[in-house]
């Protein structure tokens, strides 16, 4: 088991208890299923908040939509109670869309602990995928980042290649991928050193 690396001075600034954060160093209020008692979370990550801009704008449009329903002649022909129900139904659908998008972002997370990396993927409301990969099984770590938005807002993908039949893990659209890779490589180095000491 790797020791927690010496705190990088720049990472200390990312210690937070904010439940809506996308980058938290050593978060105290975060726990995941199957976490061992002695296992400590070093980094908790989510998709960069800017990735939510698309659905937020769509949601705004949806919630403002009923203001324009009167422009449709068929809507004006309906009795008042039916018009009210149509508006309520519209808001129900808008709420469902917004809620599902928020939950998707909120519950999809990536964690690096002193033992392993964890990828929690909330694919949709009825399907989730959780991948674990021990630090010992990690062979290679690569950053993939491209495009204007990724460059401006400093987010990207970290691809973690694992050994054998264990599936590769990809941290998608995470903030500060360089720092994430630095932390991961520090943990891998410590893990290798610990293993070598154990073999001597």
């Amino acid at each position: 088991m790797a020791q927690i690396p010496e705190s990088d001075a720049t990472l200390l600034g990312f210690k937070t208890k904010n439940p809506l954060t996308s980058f938290a160093y050593e978060p105290e209020n975060v726990h995941f299923i199957d976490q061992d008692p002695e296992e400590k979370i070093i980094l908790f990550l989510r998709w960069h908040p800017i990735t939510n801009l698309g659905w937020i704008l769509t949601a705004l449009f949806l919630f403002l939509g009923p203001s324009f329903l009167g422009s449709f002649s068929i809507f004006s022909t309906l009795p008042l109670n039916y018009r009210f129900i149509v508006v309520l139904l519209w808001y129900l659908i808008a709420t469902a869309y917004t809620y599902e998008k928020f939950l998707h972002w909120y519950f999809s997370g990536f964690l690096i602990t002193n033992k392993r990396v964890v990828d929690i993927d909330f694919i949709n409301l009825i399907y989730r995928e959780i991948s674990f990969a021990s630090l010992e099984k990690i062979q290679d770590v690569t950053i993939k980042s491209g495009g204007g938005l990724m460059a401006i807002f400093n987010y990207g993908n970290v691809f973690i290649q694992t050994a054998g039949e264990i599936p590769n893990v990809e941290f998608e659209k995470i903030p500060k991928p360089d720092k994430v890779v630095k932390v991961l490589k520090g943990l891998l180095l410590q893990n290798n050193q610990t293993e070598k000491k154990g073999q001597i």
Partner: protein, 68 residues
């Protein structure tokens, strides 16, 4: 008796909202599972919001049932 346009519309609306209530119920269940999977600090508000969402759907159904 031939159903009127508004009568048919009411039936479709009620069926639609009933399907939505099933969806809202699934959301409640899934939020419960996800709160167990990942705890970040907003478990209670998220759980309450899922119940409020279900309650909203039920209220709309009841309104459609009695007011249309």
């Amino acid at each position: 008796m031939i159903p009127t346009f508004t009568g048919l519309l009411k039936i479709f609306i009620l069926i639609g909202i009933a399907v939505y209530i099933i969806f809202a119920f699934i959301v409640v269940k899934q939020v419960k599972i996800m709160n167990l999977t990942l705890k970040v600090g907003l478990e209670t508000p998220i759980k309450i919001s899922s119940y409020l969402h279900l309650a909203f759907a039920v209220l709309v159904f009841l309104f459609a049932l009695f007011a249309l």
